[in-house]
Amino acid sequence: MNITIAIFFVIGIIALVGALGVVASRNVVYSALFLLLSLIMVAGLYILLYADFLAIVQILIYGGAIVIVIFFALMLTRTREMPLRLDNPKKPWAIVASLAAFALLATTTALTHWKILVTTPERVSYQVLGRTLFTQWAVPFEIASILLLVALVGAIVIARPGGRE
């Protein structure tokens, strides 16, 4: 067995364990920590796919920003609820639905004959990526920046204390 495939299995299993911890943990703070673990393992997967810029972005934005914001939200919305109330009473149906979705996706993946065009994957340099992002994809890039601005203003307006009730 190839060493890369071994690394892939280790990273993949840790990512899956983290994801299961997110959905199964009885403590919301542990859930957020498991989410962080899973997201960092996904960054490892990006490195295995030769997308190292995305790996850095993943750690910066997910590990640095999103998980911290989620921690703040968990802190600000602490309730004295019983841990049992974190889960829906119709949980068995959720298990059935997600297992059925996984079975469908897995069989489709296994039955499809993928036409792999590359034998040696290549790394995209930061310069090429940045140049393409600012020339060919300049308009979507600007729209994304407007979207972020709108989300920023919207979040402030919604979470602001007082205002119209």
Binding site: T4, F8, G12, A15, L16, A19, V22, V23, V28, A32, L35, S38, L39, V42, L45, Y46, L49, A51, L54, I66, V69, I70, A73, L74, L76, T77, T79, E81, R85, L86, K91, A94, I95, A97, S98, L99, A101, F102, L105, T109, A110, W114, I116, L117, V118, T120, P121, E122, V124, V128, L129, T132, A144, L147, L148, V150, A151, G154, A155, I158
Partner: protein, 102 residues
């Protein structure tokens, strides 16, 4: 080289775990965390396809960057809504929030 199918199966598993979380959890913040898992699974798919089918165009990486941008905006807005909800109803349990249901 790691086969494409391994990445697809892994991302399908991550996506379905996230789906389970969205369906089974009642805390709004936990549902958001599960949505993040699902978005990540989609990103793995995009990058894996891009690196195995057309690595010179890296469209999948560009797309994943935009998905991450939208995910960041979504989390910011959704958590603002959750905090507002908690202030008005002292609960983030999505079962109890039925004012728009009739």
């Amino acid at each position: 080289m790691i086969p494409l199918e391994y990445f697809l199966i892994l991302s399908a598993a991550l996506f379905c775990i996230g789906l389970y979380g969205v369906l089974a959890r009642r805390n709004a913040v936990l549902i958001l965390m599960s949505i993040e898992l699902m978005l990540n699974a989609v990103n793995i798919n995009l990058v894996a396809f891009s690196s195995r089918l057309a690595p010179s165009e890296f469209l999948g990486q560009i797309f994943a960057i935009f998905v991450i941008t939208v995910a960041a905006a979504e989390v910011g807005l959704a958590l603002a809504i959750v905090i507002r909800l908690y202030r008005n109803r002292t609960s983030v349990n999505v079962d109890e929030i039925d004012i728009m249901k009739w």
